[in-house]
């Protein structure tokens, strides 16, 4: 374990960072800014973050295939805009975990607050516990798998990607959803505007099985139901005014 000082100068790399080194950064000693600066200009391929203490924007903006283990609870926008990092939070996270993720994976061992995976374009977000409201809001290609429940207004205006919920979903699920696909194993409080239940065909069972495997969750895909867009709000129409 090597402590990182706040004035560490990022090295200039010609190639990928060495694999053998694990760098530990204690956020109660170093600043988040120094941590992120190191992760943006890495001197190693594997990091662990100690005593995160709920700080915001931990491991935000990673743009390469680093492994980061965050040992404790993180605040808002943990792993924000992740593009290639393999990040595990051994605790709970605040609002907007992995928001706008492009690629890579983020795994939360505990629960997540609001807007988990918001606007994500790619990659896999796994929340082993439950997620609060607006999970997967405006998602644009990300895959999100939640081991527990999700709160209301989840997958609002979700454009693309898959949202898998192994527990229950709150009210107004998938309101104004576009082409994202939603799988729920438990109860759905209520469906949002233009979100409908759709038949579970073989290709959906297959993609759900693959997502559950990737998330390392052991559920039978046949226990899930599929939801998606009724596509009735794709064009303005006066008779839809109550739904807009």
């Amino acid at each position: 374990m090597e402590p990182l000082t706040t004035d560490a100068t990022p090295p200039n790399h010609a190639g990928p960072p060495p694999l053998e080194r694990l760098v530990s950064i204690d956020v109660s000693v170093a600043t988040v800014r120094a941590l992120n600066n190191e992760l943006h200009h890495p001197s190693a391929a594997a990091y662990e973050v100690l005593q995160p203490q709920g700080a915001h924007a931990i491991a935000a903006g990673i743009d390469q295939a680093l492994t980061v283990d965050i040992r404790g609870h993180a605040g808002y926008y943990c792993a924000g805009m992740n593009d290639g990092g393999q990040i595990v939070v051994h605790g709970n996270v605040g609002t907007g975990v992995a928001e706008n993720m492009m690629s890579g994976s983020v795994r939360i061992r505990g629960d997540a607050s609001q807007s988990a995976g918001a606007t994500g374009h790619g990659g896999l977000l796994v929340i082993e516990g439950s997620a609060s409201m607006r999970c997967g809001i405006s998602m644009k290609g990300i895959d999100i798998v939640v081991g527990g429940d999700i709160g209301p207004m989840s997958a609002f205006m979700a454009q693309a990607g898959r949202l898998v919920v192994c527990g229950d979903a709150g009210d107004d699920l998938g309101d104004s959803v576009y082409e994202a696909r939603i799988y729920v194993r438990g109860k759905v409080g209520a469906l949002g505007a233009d979100c409908i239940e759709k038949p579970m065909r073989d290709e959906h069972l297959a993609e759900l099985a693959a997502l559950l495997t990737a998330a390392r969750l052991d559920h039978d895909p046949r226990a899930f139901r599929r939801y998606g867009s009724g596509r009735t709000l794709y064009h303005f129409a006066a008779h839809n005014s109550a739904a807009y």
Binding site: N36, T95, A118, Q159, F236
Partner: protein, 440 residues
């Protein structure tokens, strides 16, 4: 056609011809009117202000001989690399989608030629625009269409958009006829659908969250880039205070004359306040925080001439942004398209159907044939010419007021022509010392 009034006919002021046409249109179609442009109603504006040139008690500067600076630095509060612009006239955010790729490139070319910035919009950053823009501001919008960290790092500044003057409280709108395959792919949406952008950000609500969001954007971009916060003019005094508290380096205030590519007419004309009413509120907020000139203020909405630029700066703005005027400089509403405007049921000087995608000038369209009409190089030259004229006009006024830099213009240089303008701008009615509301 004979003017009906010579026949003794009287038009209703309440139900004028445009109102009657609106009711008839609503009754026939059952949908509200969606259009582009900004507020068209008459509003108190910079036209209602005049400069007091130098005379006995003030000393003017020689035109063409004595220097009058125009440069401005934006975002030096926290950012490692603030924007240093040669003129305070910038190009406002307009999306690829709303505008053709050629129009976006032309704006970039024009802005770069005179050393100012241009701004992306609700559709992501195009290579054409980035490639031709020396200073590019990347908008961070509720929809996050095309949002990605790679483009974020390519930007020279980041503008967190809460709203715009044409529709404060409303999200973007792009009708299906403008969702080409390229636009659809950049926005991750099916081609051809009527697209409604969100009006609220998906992962933060309120000023306390915004502070954390700004922190995240700084962390992702290694504290290099200025962060702007843009608001539509409504409760401007409070919005500016909250934006500064949230950590904004630059605050952008867009009045209700500011344009849009597509919004309900009722929204454009009835929500928000005029630029003239918002600007002094913003300055007051900054001054009370001790942040005037520390956090820069950009004002937009109805800037057309160098006089407007000078008046905005005299009232305390650090820079202005133009949108509609830049489109006109590119060729929008030009009489050369009169026949085509007529075929669309409009006329040169009146055309505002930017939502429709059939713009004869090739600016507010995704149609390949129409957009090919706009040569980005020639368009860029026109935009550069226009930006130079705005800058030189503002300098002319500043010199006449004895100012060696545009930023030295001050409210004391101004008087108002109307009581309304005097009250809003907080400058005296011309010929009097009366500022309505002062001292209350």
């Amino acid at each position: 056609m004979t003017d009906p009034s010579v026949l003794g006919l009287r038009e209703s002021a309440t139900f004028d011809r445009a109102t009657i046409a609106g009711i008839q249109r609503a009754a026939e179609t059952g949908v509200y009117d969606i259009r582009g442009w900004g507020a068209k109603r008459r509003l108190p504006h910079f036209d209602d202000l005049l400069f007091l040139g130098a005379s006995m008690s003030r000393y003017p500067l020689e035109g063409y001989r004595e220097r009058c600076g125009t440069d401005v630095t934006l975002g030096d509060r926290h950012a490692k690399y603030p924007l240093r612009l040669a003129t305070p006239v910038t190009i406002a955010g307009m999306s690829f989608g709303a505008l053709s790729a050629q129009a976006k490139e032309a704006l970039g070319r024009g802005a770069s030629e005179v050393g100012t910035s241009t701004t992306t919009g609700d559709g992501g950053m195009t290579p054409e625009e980035r490639g031709q823009s020396k200073h590019l501001v990347y908008q961070y919008l509720p929809s996050r269409y095309g949002m990605n960290p790679t483009d974020l790092r390519k930007a020279d500044a980041i503008e967190v958009v809460l709203g715009q003057g044409a529709k404060p409280g409303g999200g973007g709108m792009l009708l299906g006829q403008k969702i080409s395959d390229r636009v659809a792919a950049m926005r991750t949406l099916p081609p051809g659908i009527d697209q409604r952008s969100a009006c609220r950000h998906p992962d933060w609500t309120g000023p306390d969250d915004l502070a954390i969001k700004i922190l995240e954007l700084r962390e992702i971009t290694d504290w290099e880039k200025p962060i702007y916060v843009k608001v539509g003019a409504t409760r401007t005094y409070y919005d500016v205070k909250l934006a500064v508290a949230a950590g904004a380096d630059v605050v952008v205030v867009d009045g209700m004359q500011g344009g849009t590519a597509a919004t309900q007419d009722v929204f454009i004309e009835h929500v928000g306040i005029p630029t003239l009413a918002a600007l002094p509120q913003a300055v007051q907020a900054l001054q009370e925080l001790g942040m005037h000139r520390q956090v820069q203020l950009i004002v937009s909405g109805g800037i057309r001439t160098g006089a407007d630029v000078a008046k905005a700066m005299a009232l305390g703005a650090d820079a202005v942004a133009i949108g509609t005027a830049a489109l006109i400089a590119l060729g929008d509403n030009h009489p050369r398209h009169a026949a085509e405007y007529a075929a669309l049921g409009s006329a040169a000087g009146f055309y505002d159907d930017f939502q429709d995608g059939r713009d004869p000038a090739g600016i507010t369209t995704q149609d390949p044939e129409l957009s090919a009409r706009l040569d980005p190089v020639a368009g860029g030259r026109r935009v550069a010419n226009y930006l130079r004229v705005l800058t030189m006009e503002a300098q002319t006024i500043a010199r006449a007021c004895g100012k060696s830099h545009l930023q030295h213009l001050e409210p004391e240089d101004l008087v108002a022509l109307t009581i309304e303008a005097a009250a809003m701008a907080r400058v005296p009615l011309a010929g009097t010392s009366w500022i309505p509301g002062a001292g209350l």
